[in-house]
Symmetry: C2
Subunit: 333 residues, 2 copies
């Protein structure tokens, strides 16, 4: 039998396991032109929380009783489609299921297995990596000598955003929710400083670690962290806005105080969504893959084994228990 993960109810506030069910389900059957896949890695990403809500977001919501969908790395196990051969490794937005069928192979991307690990196609060499690049480099425009502050710095995007800003000559400071993550940022990712936002005041930490103030704040969280960054921003600072996980809808949004800093300090605050930048992916991969191979760029993955662990793995990622990119491996490579 096949196995899948479905959404059983919409969460209010924190997600817990009662929102999911691990279900046996029918083996997929393909017709002419279709592609049959065996999933290898399921990607867990912060944006999935928004898709569990009923309201519209920038991506459509999940349906109750239907599978969770995210980026999945998979192997072609049968193909009626000339573009895909058995054994090809691909990624696409796929159901969380051991096996699935993709009509006419639409939306599947072949993974170039020479570039890096196949799991990297949904992280450092995929859209999350490009997210870090566009935010930290294209929008953030770090200059040598700048100070860049990254929140959620030990996450998939944050670890890369910090390393990219560092390569551009910035002094890089990161915050994360655990001492082990802080050690990871300093000792493995080469951040100049890092702090645990859960054990002290963000204002005091920024005053200590960024005494000259911030030229770039890569915003992954919004809320009081953004307010602190506005207070510590220097004249001309750039704030790429990549995530605002601290407020999902305007009803319970406490608002952001201190936006006058945009004016008094001539700050540019720019939201972006990576789907607008898809056309840059190949050039990004060509630039970054050699750094990854040489070890100049560090990328941390946190791989949980077994599809039945997928709900707990996703919830744990949302609660911040993972260092780096959390994946669920459901078949051998």
């Amino acid at each position: 039998m096949n196995t899948r993960i479905v959404l059983t109810k919409r969460p209010s506030g924190w997600v817990d396991e009662s929102c999911f069910a691990v279900q046996d389900c029918a083996e997929p059957v393909g017709g002419p032109g279709d592609v049959l896949l065996e999933a290898i890695y399921l990607s867990t990403d912060p944006y999935l929380r928004g898709r569990m809500n009923a309201g519209p977001s920038y991506a459509p919501g999940f349906e109750i009783g239907k599978p969770i969908v995210s980026r999945v790395v998979a192997r072609v196990i049968a193909s009626g489609n000339s573009r895909f051969a058995v054994g090809d490794v691909v990624w696409g937005f796929l159901d969380w299921a051991l096996r699935s069928v993709v009509p006419r192979g639409e939306g599947l991307h072949k993974i170039d297995t020479t570039l890096g690990r196949i799991s990297h196609a949904v992280s450092v060499l995929g859209m999350p990596g490009l997210t870090a690049w566009v935010g930290a480099i294209e929008i953030g425009q770090p200059a040598p000598g700048d100070t860049a502050y990254i929140s959620s710095a030990a996450g998939t995007v944050g670890q890369l955003a910090g390393q990219f800003a560092k390569r551009a000559g910035a002094r890089v400071v990161g915050s994360a929710g655990g001492d082990d993550k802080v050690d990871f940022l300093r000792d493995r990712c080469g951040f100049d400083a890092a702090f645990n936002y859960k054990t002290g005041s963000i204002d005091e930490a920024l005053a200590e670690h960024c005494p000259q103030g911030l030229d770039l704040y890569f915003d992954n969280v919004g809320g009081s962290t953004l307010e602190a960054a506005l207070r510590h921003a220097r004249v001309g600072a750039r704030i790429p806005v990549c995530g605002m996980i601290s407020a999902y809808n305007e009803v319970d949004d406490p608002g952001i105080k201190g936006l006058q800093a945009l004016l008094t300090k001539r700050i540019a605050m720019t939201g972006f969504i990576i789907y607008d930048h898809v056309h840059k992916l190949a050039a990004y991969q060509a630039r970054v893959a050699p750094w990854l191979r040489s070890g100049e760029l560090v990328f941390q993955e946190d791989i949980v084994q077994g599809i039945e662990q997928a709900p707990a793995a996703l919830i744990g990622m949302m609660k911040g228990e993972a260092i780096g990119k959390r994946l669920v491996q459901v078949a051998a490579e």
Copy 2:
């Protein structure tokens, strides 16, 4: 005797006349190299409110018992300085006084009287005009077919920002606090639509006048107007932030709700201060002066007569009673 306007106490909330005194004072005496001036026009500007506070802003605060200072258009009545001759018309940041002396003529700018009216040097052909240009054109980047919304649209900067965006091909919608101002925007400045924000819901007005949403919001006010603009913004909207008069300090700042729109709609919100752009003034003047002479560009002034009227004129400007640029004329041209 000479006459001047001094700040007698710091306002809390709305400014009233008890914050000012009209004082007799000594005639200024110049030494070698100094320039003696007779004031002609005193400029009233929204930013002056911030300078009445004790706290630091982006410009230094006024001192109690000392004159108000703003841009003043003046005539040279005596000069010990080879750069200035008697009869030259100049502008500078000068005391609000009938006559004053400027040591070594520092900070005085000679006005090219062939460009336009001499009063224009502190408005449409000066820094306020350049403010409208940088915000509406350089930061706002209006494209033909865009919809641009301007708050405080009947003010010095707003009337120009709207006309500049219109020249760039945008459909222009303005809001102001009075039906006479709305008529002025529609009938004289060529705005496609305008509404009185005091007599209805901004959300409903934006829904009616900008049914496709906003591509550009020139923010002169912050607060709930900014929140409404974020709700009505289209994907890729630009928000040049020129003023946030609705909140002066973070203590009583209610915060801005709905900033998630920056992310979901990829909005760029960019604060600017015109002092960073001073080097562009000559090119701006050369571009705009012909439009003003030909009548293609409308610029409305509201001129109050007599230095003793200056406090009331300033307070009235802050309360929104003027259409266009309010000046106080204290001597004949």
